[in-house]
Amino acid sequence: MFNRGAIINIRGLGHRTIDSVMRFGYASRFFALTLLNSGACFRRPHLIVRELYYTGVQSMIIILVSGLFVGMVLGFQGYQTLNTYGSESALGVLVALSLVRELGPVVSGLLFASRAGSAMTAEIGLMKTTEQLSAMEMMAVDPIARVVAPRFWAGVVSMPLLAAIFSAMGVYGGYLIGVVLIGVDDGSFWSQMQSAVDFREDIVNGVIKSVVFGVAVTWIALFEGYDSPPTAEGVSGATTRTVVTSSLAILGLDFVLTAFMFRGI
């Protein structure tokens, strides 16, 4: 009796694994098609601009506010810890490096996934459910070129910009708490920061990270929407999957990129 249950479970596990691999293959084909069909939206940039509004501009508020708060918390906590070693003048370094190297790309990536990513999945899933994608195909317009590709490029462009805005707001938040509120020295805050934060090593690496996250999140969001079952439960499940998978992907990629980029330092 016990043996039978175990065998059935293993078989189910095997099925699910094979299904996942097949689905990943399908998703990769989808990614390739998106890239190949991007020519159309580069010739008609207003399509990308429109999507930039919905992904980038509408995420601005949450990014600005979150960046400010994260920076302020960093200021508080950083001060507490550094003060015990008498190094509170290094607060600027702490805040800036934490944001530019890690928190900026990662947290704004997670926020982007839950706000813009889930919206993209829901929108495309709904278009599939109401047969809008089929109607487009019937009118000899490729939905991947017309609907998916513009959103993809808008997401890839938005992410690094949002991460930069997050980091900048965060530094300002750290400054507000550290210098204005607590009283850390203004000059050493900025000067130590400037000597410790390197353009190539820290800022450029941070931008590279956010571009990678942008590609991952947008790809996942668009694929889940495109592949969702055309029902209400299907779309809602797809939206949840987008947020979960994107978040895990961001954290996983962050580890890989960090290990690779910040090896020697």
């Binding site: 509004y53 008498g86 910009l161 920061m193 390197d198």
Partner: protein, 155 residues
Amino acid sequence: MERSTIDLWVGLFMVAGLGALTILALKVGNMGSVGSNETYQLSAEFTNIGGLKPRAAVKSSGVVVGRVSGIIFDNEKFVARVSMNIDSRYKFPQDTSASILTAGLLGEQYVGFEGGAEDKPLTPGATLKLTQSAVVLEKLISQFMYSKADGSAGK
């Protein structure tokens, strides 16, 4: 949504994003300072480099004049060879001394150039003769303890 309104907001977004990137690059990072200036190489040998790492600063009178480009161990002389890229604007006399100093208690270690009264400057590729190795905390403590022990034994 009107097309023109969308264009406006997207334009503002792009400006904000690129502006944030620029602010980060200039005010937060060090792109403004030692950027793509011409440099020349100098070397120095130390018995102990302590925690000195590549890309550490080389300072004179507290001002950053260059960067450490590489550190290798010389197996024949059993010393550490530190190569440095120095900004071409600055020339140092032949008898300049290089010491490994620490910025603050927990700070990073850097190379400090001091003194020098000779007329002739160091040529590119030259090696500094006078060096002072890093202060290793454990040696300092053991020195202190031995001297205390000597002092109390001598009484």
